[in-house]
Symmetry: C2
Subunit: 429 residues, 2 copies
């Protein structure tokens, strides 16, 4: 039974790409895990609820990480001089192979769950490895963390190292189905997600079987789409009769409002239309696209076309699990896109990326990422006092600084689904 | 009298663009503020010196910030949706005008000195404002911080707001000269630097007078060069007979081994040749060039031509004073340069930016930024235990992670010129 309560502070949230709401010294009422509303003065009818006063701290919706790789945190920030394929072969695949060992998985995934818990992220979509036992263990650790999200056992049955390549599409699908059944039986807050790594590593036979599992169990899907030129050419060679990369996923039912496609750096117009029609969520991962030299995703084009776009850290292609930083990086990448690629694509604005990081990406998880009535209460309480200044700042200015300088501020509390995650010192009466 | 001592830990330093030295559990000997050498085993002749054992921590040379604006820290990370000229008018100029008030300056510069002291930076070149009293106060606070560096009273006598525009070239030069005399009389570790803001804000008459002051007092110079297209066009309009932007500075004696030019985003080949001939230091500021939508500096071209290149945070064009992060950002920017502008310009490597951040930029201050014998001892002791991993890492891998994930590590100690800046818990015997 979730508690009803009130939190007080400088409250900021977004309800659209263009609009920030800011209420100084406001009251955010939570009932049964859901937002009732934000009030300038506390209505009498809530006066009986316990109130936590965060004083001058900022209170904003939590942020959502739509794309990251749990086994990659162990080498995050390393080997960044390598290009994608070399990097996969030097780091990603040898590391993923280690997760056949459940003891190793426990050590590595404990670090991952701890790190994600103490980050700004409330909900996430993450890749694990092909190993069902290790992936169940990851889900167990994440379930215990208090976070919410989707975990994917990775499917690969071609073009993968022998020890990471499933023996057949049939065996892969059988293994995946059992894993889904186990996940749904054991966990409430952490849910399974179909995770074909990407088209080059999944045969048509496997994709067809995953499609059937999606329908049978009602589970969402995640994959990579149009990350870089070589990958796109590879998909074209593997699927010569397909119109384009996105249409291959679409053919297997993998584009829907229940799917996340990471990257989308080089979409054709037809692919953008398809993503829009299917209401597929794009996970924009600016740091990763830079680090792996992929390029810059045309986010302005996607938004203008009405495609849903959220943000992803893509750890360890991205070097940081910090999704406030990812929001700032999305602006930075879009500025270089404008300068170097297309001056008809204005840079993303601070309200736009704030929306993408919160309500935009949050919509993948239901009513999440805003403080509108009926939204699940996911909130961050930010102590930005370390950002000392002699200027008088508005709340949006303070929030902007918190995004750009997230490394310097403190996360005082994180509420996920109406529950505070961290112990706090008892407030004196 | 500086103390002689030994520090022990995992020691990493660079002596060239291509080469990293790493000695695990090594001994760094310091005598009279200078490095004697790094040893795998401590030679008997140093056995009598006090030894500080940093255990598993990383010890690297300190980093150097060749370009930042002290009065801008107050609004660092704000207004990032504005373009250069709007941003200057909305934030930079109104804020700089406040420094006519010495009380305000004391409050703002105290924050700046504290922040810089606790950063990874050991030595710096910073802009102040046009106000001599406030700039002397800044120098006083920085002198007390234990850091080393140059402070510049900004010179502007045209194209500036009335309250920041000096009344005449003559008055500006007189004011500047008195300020230099005061600086040299009062401070040992913080030195004056001629600081014409940039060509558009300095008349020829002022530049000529600053040139004479440079010769008379042997002080170095700093300015901005080729930051963005509009600025370059403006300089061309103001100086129609000049070959190019760099040659204007050169005409006034402002290009030399004793000068720092920030940005250099759009250099012509002739300008690169001139910078190389004059041995001028370029301060590459990747975050600022992105945030202000200037573009990406062609650092590979500069390095290949033999131009000296160090790094700058350019606070508040850049949003972070963290020069380890700036080093990672220099790699990231160069990857996008390669991808989007010129595939004949390979991305900067981790050893290259490490060199630029340490010995490369450090050379502006003398023998600084390396642990070679005779170098001034500027060193950082880094506690990277928060970067938990289940992988076995080499020292260069740990250092690479420390750069990319500098927000997550701790600065245990910073040695500047042979002196530790922070108090440390007494080590148990």
């Amino acid at each position: 039974m979730k508690k009803d309560f009130v939190i007080k502070g400088h409250i900021i949230w977004s309800d659209s790409l263009k609009h920030l709401n800011a209420i100084p010294h406001g009251y955010l009422v939570c009932e049964g895990g859901l937002c009732t509303g934000v009030f300038r003065a506390l209505p009498d009818r809530y006066a009986h609820l316990p109130l936590k006063d965060y004083g001058g701290h900022l209170i904003m919706p939590a942020v959502y990480d739509l794309h990251l790789h749990a086994p990659q945190l162990a080498y995050c920030g390393m080997g960044m001089d390598l290009e994608l394929i070399d990097w996969l072969n030097a780091y990603a695949f040898p590391e993923e192979a280690k997760f056949a060992d459940l003891d190793y998985a426990r050590r590595a995934y404990t670090v991952f769950a701890d790190t994600l818990r103490s980050s700004y992220t409330a909900r996430f979509c993450c890749f694990a490895t092909m190993h069902a036992p290790a992936t169940l263990l990851l889900a167990e650790l994440l379930e215990a963390s208090g976070l919410r999200g989707y975990v994917g056992k990775v499917s690969m049955d071609r073009n993968a190292p022998a020890d990471l390549c499933e023996p057949s599409a049939e065996a892969a699908a059988r293994d995946c189905e059992q894993w889904i059944v186990d996940m749904q039986a054991r966990f409430t807050n952490i849910k399974p997600m179909l995770t074909p790594r990407f088209i080059p590593s999944c045969s048509d036979a496997l994709m067809e079987r995953l499609h059937k599992l999606a329908d049978k169990y009602g589970v969402p899907a995640q994959s990579h789409l149009s990350e870089n030129h070589d990958e796109i050419a590879w998909v074209k060679a593997l699927c010569p009769t397909s119109k384009n990369y996105a249409s291959v996923y679409d053919h297997f039912g993998m584009l829907s409002a229940n799917a996340v496609m990471a990257h989308v750096v080089y979409p054709q117009d037809e692919e953008i239309t398809l993503l829009k029609q299917r209401r597929t969520m794009v996970a924009h991962c600016p740091a990763s696209n830079t680090n792996l030299r992929s390029g810059i995703a045309p986010v302005r084009r996607l938004l203008s076309a009405g495609v849903r776009v959220g943000l992803g850290s893509d750890v360890a292609g991205g070097e940081s699990i910090d999704m406030l930083r990812a929001a700032a990086e999305a602006i930075q990448a879009s500025k270089l896109y404008w300068r170097l690629i297309d001056q008809a694509a204005p840079a993303l604005t601070f309200p736009e990326v704030f929306y993408m990081a919160t309500k935009g990406g949050g919509s993948f998880f239901g009513k999440a990422g805003s403080f509108e009535p009926g939204y699940m209460l996911d909130a961050l309480v930010l102590d930005d006092r370390a950002l000392r200044t002699t200027c008088d700042l508005t709340l949006p200015q303070r929030l902007e600084r918190a995004l750009y300088r997230s490394a310097e501020i403190k996360l005082t509390q994180k509420y996920v689904d109406g529950t505070p995650l961290f112990e706090e010192p008892v407030t004196k009466p």
